[in-house]
């Protein structure tokens, strides 16, 4: 299997890319590359420029945010099939959390600038990719709201 075919096969294992047209799959495979990292590797850092957009194929990435005096708090883990660094597609292209591999990971990554250029030129690719990014981000937004409610707290969380 050549590398493009391997990447297409990997894309198809993710819920994010399920149902992409063959043409879009091929185009993404041309733009992407396989990436692996060991547990403990910091993949990106909160506030820094997001230079890659990733689709996680295997492993787990913790998204953390630093709270002074409480340390690094994991607020979400990225699981296989989901994306990370969606901020590479949305201005100001800066990471909203710090991403660290907490298992050996395998991902398909895309250079942010090249992917954005491709999406500007190729409406069909944009039409295939952007709604999926929106779904992925909306899913996180909804989850964040539920987490914010702190439903499992023993004491009732007072409104403020």
């Amino acid at each position: 299997m050549n590398e493009t075919a391997a990447l297409i096969a990997a894309l198809n294992t993710s819920w994010f890319a399920t149902g992409l047209s063959e043409k879009a799959q091929t185009r993404l495979a041309e733009l992407g590359r396989r990436f692996t990292a060991e547990p403990g590797t910091e993949l990106f850092r909160e506030g820094e420029t997001s230079d890659t957009f990733g689709i996680l194929v295997h492993g787990r990435v913790a998204l953390r945010t630093l709270v002074p005096e409480r340390g690094d708090i994991t607020i979400l883990t990225v699981e296989p099939g989901d994306v990370y660094l969606w901020s590479a597609l949305v201005p100001p292209y800066r990471a909203s959390s710090t991403g660290t591999a907490i298992e050996p990971i395998e991902a398909i990554v895309f250079d942010g600038a090249s992917l954005r250029a491709a999406l500007r030129e190729d409406c069909e690719l944009a039409l295939a990719l952007y709604p999926r990014v929106l779904v992925a981000v909306a899913r996180r937004l909804y989850a964040t709201r539920l987490q914010m409610l702190d439903l499992f707290a023993a004491e009732q969380v007072k409104s403020w």
Binding site: A62, I75, T77, Q147, L149, L151, F152, A153, A154, Q156
Partner: protein
């Protein structure tokens, strides 16, 4: 009026049909009732109103006094005659004697590690109710069903009710607030009395409808009533019916009301309603109660009292996480929909008898008839019968059990292992709960987290004073239990299917017996998936068991937490993310869900999106409970009492009341 034959007594001739009793001879009836050892409760003027209270003579009755009633208004008026029953109904109902406002239930004592619970003896004198109207009789019938007509019987009510001799009176006048005609309860008294009086100018037509009534009739100085007297009595009552008319057309009211849970009128009436609860206290059928503890100064001896409560009380639907009906509009809607709709589903009748007390005694003059008529007709709903599988109950009593082990599960949650429990627990089922009591604290519903051959386990989170006291119990100490109560997880429906269990926080406790039942007979079930979310890694319950279920019993256990430190390498995120993108198809699955209601809602939506039918998504609900057997009224949710009809419900059963604000 039906003509009956009375048996001969003494020297009097056999009476065929109703007799006539001169007005002054009503004193004979009062005297005979008192001679028989009965307290006679009848109408008397007090504080500007005609109330029911103990009477001893005719002079106590409101001779020549009538009343004028309107929304928020009540006035006594001098009549132009000497009638004793020329008024309608006042603020009191006879429930004050069959269902007193304050009753001591249980005495509890703590002596070192030993606690004892003993029910208060029920010792009530016989009474006679004089002057009960058709609506009063209907109201007694409604409370009879509530307290004695379902699986659980209230012993205090049953004892008091058995000792009532009922002297009913036909209505010969109506108030502007009356609507018994619409509720099908009056104005004619037709049955359910011992003696029935119809007041005429010179006295009473008297009839009997029971052996005790016929025996009393035979002792009264009556003569056979003349045909004209009988005709006149019937015509007077017929005139009352015509005067009342049909203010609230009742056909289809149940469905029409339940289809209007979002009507803007609820918010409008709530702007007038001051949630004082007067309507529920004046109502002759309202039966909700609350428990209070009175302890001595040492805290060792406590008496538990039951008192009238109201669904309008701010704390009525409160649980540790907040109140399910925080807004006045929620409470008004609860009251009205219960009275006129869901009461039918629970007890086979309307909860309203049309006496109009709630209209007259509402300080702001809210008229239920106007409110009901303002709610538009809508699509009828087909109610689904609740599953009721109660196992055992010992009302008003707590059986003590002893703590033989404690295990601190998390910083605020403890599992107590109890032995010496009521043998009924041996027959308990997954998903059931117990009312758990400590002297000086209100009893609380706690899910049973494990059934043992000679006891149970309770996993308790110390969220308030009572649960904190339970968590602090040491080995050797005792507590009081009543149960097991409620229905169970429908495990039989899971046999041969794939089962998905989704739970969050302390919600794993009521599901733990399900997992025990599955591992005990693993082959009967298909794939079993447990998705469990907690606040932080330190809040995960039963960690050793989770590992065992996964490693040894082929249960797919997936955990997630809402937030974690860097040492946690498991998942972080909400529990639905554990399966919203999973590969399985839910069409053949059955789901059991337990957690905070908002979490169960999100989970049910996600499960439905994965193809699990609503009839196979089961949730267990938490509500404020005080009795656990459908008698105190606190846990009502639409047509259900969560304690008795639940706590386990399918999403299909709950329909759109699940997750709705203020139900």
């Amino acid at each position: 009026m039906v003509i009956r034959t009375a048996p001969a007594r003494g020297h009097r001739p056999v009476l065929e049909g109703p007799g006539f009793l001169a007005r002054a001879d009503l004193q004979v009836l009062i005297d005979l009732l008192r001679e028989d050892g009965r307290r006679v409760i009848g109408p008397t003027v007090s504080d500007g109103a005609i109330v029911y209270d103990e009477i001893t003579s005719l002079d106590d009755l409101p001779r020549g006094i009538g009343d004028e009633q309107a929304p928020g208004r009540y006035r006594l008026r001098r009549r132009n005659d000497e009638r004793l029953f020329g008024y309608v109904v006042g603020p009191t109902a006879f429930k004050k004697w069959t269902f007193p406002p304050l009753v001591p239930l249980t005495r509890a004592a703590k002596d070192g590690h030993r606690v004892t619970f003993s029910p208060e003896p029920i010792d009530v004198p016989p009474v006679a109710f004089l002057g009960a109207r058709a609506c009063d009789l209907a109201a007694l019938g409604v409370q009879d069903t509530v307290f004695t007509g379902t699986a659980f019987v209230d012993p205090d009510y049953a004892a008091r009710r058995a000792k009532v001799f009922l002297v009913a009176v036909q209505c010969t006048t109506a108030a502007a607030t009356c609507f018994c005609t619409s509720m099908g309860t009056g104005p004619e008294v037709e049955e359910g009395y011992d003696l029935l009086l119809t007041e005429l100018d010179g006295g009473f037509l008297v009839d009997a409808d029971s052996a005790a009534g016929r025996a009393m009739l035979a002792r009264l100085p009556v003569r056979p009533a003349a045909a004209a007297e009988q005709y006149g009595a019937a015509a007077t009552v017929a005139a009352v019916r015509a005067r009342i008319g049909d203010p609230v057309p009742a056909a289809g009211l149940h469905d029409r009301l339940l289809a209007q849970l979002d009507h803007p009128r609820w918010a409008q009436v709530a702007e007038r309603c001051i949630t004082c609860g007067n309507c529920t206290l004046a109502c002759p059928t309202c039966f909700c109660t609350t428990l209070s503890q009175v302890t001595d100064l040492t805290g060792r001896d406590a008496t538990m009292y039951r008192s009238w409560d109201s669904c309008f009380s701010p704390g009525f639907a409160k649980v540790a996480g907040g109140s399910f009906r925080s807004r006045p509009r929620d409470r008004y809607r609860q009251w009205l929909t219960h009275k006129f709709a869901t009461w039918w589903d629970q007890f086979g009748s309307s909860g309203c008898v049309g006496c109009g007390r709630c209209i007259t005694w509402c300080p702001v003059g809210i008229d239920v008839r106007d409110e009901l008529n303002a709610i538009a007709p809508a699509v009828p709903l087909v109610p689904e019968a609740p599953i009721v599988e109660p196992v055992a109950a010992t009302p008003n009593d707590f059986v003590t059990a002893r703590v033989v082990a404690t295990r601190q599960e998390t910083a605020d949650t403890t599992t107590l292992t109890l032995t010496g429990t009521d043998p009924a627990f041996a027959k308990g089922n997954t998903g059931q709960f117990a009312m758990v009591a400590l002297p000086g604290f209100p009893p609380l519903p706690i899910s049973i987290s494990r059934f043992l051959p000679d006891g149970i386990e309770l996993t308790i989170r110390g969220a308030g004073p009572a649960t904190k006291a339970m968590c602090a119990l040491q080995v050797g100490e005792q507590l009081g239990l009543r149960g097991p109560l409620g229905n169970n997880w429908p495990l039989d429906r899971a046999v041969g299917r794939d089962l998905v269990i989704v739970t969050g926080g302390i919600g794993l406790a009521p599901l733990r017996p399900v997992l025990h039942a599955i591992v005990a007979d693993r082959r009967r079930f298909g794939d079993v998936k447990l998705y469990y979310g907690a606040r932080t890694p330190a809040d995960l319950l039963y960690r050793d068991e989770l590992e065992r279920w996964s490693a040894r019993h082929g249960i797919e256990v997936s955990l997630t937490v809402d937030r974690a430190g860097p040492e946690w390498t498991g998942r972080v995120g909400i529990v639905t993310h554990l399966f919203d993108q999973a590969a399985w198809d839910g069409a053949n699955m059955i789901a059991f869900v337990c957690g905070p209601e908002r979490m169960m809602q999100a989970t049910s939506t996600t499960l439905a999106g994965r193809g699990v039918p609503a009839s196979r998504i089961h949730v267990t609900l938490e509500r404020h409970m005080e009795c656990g057997i459908g008698l105190c009224g606190h846990c009502q949710m639409g047509k259900y009492f969560v304690c008795r009809d639940g706590p386990v419900f399918s999403i299909g059963q709950l329909g759109d009341i699940f997750g709705r604000e203020g139900i």
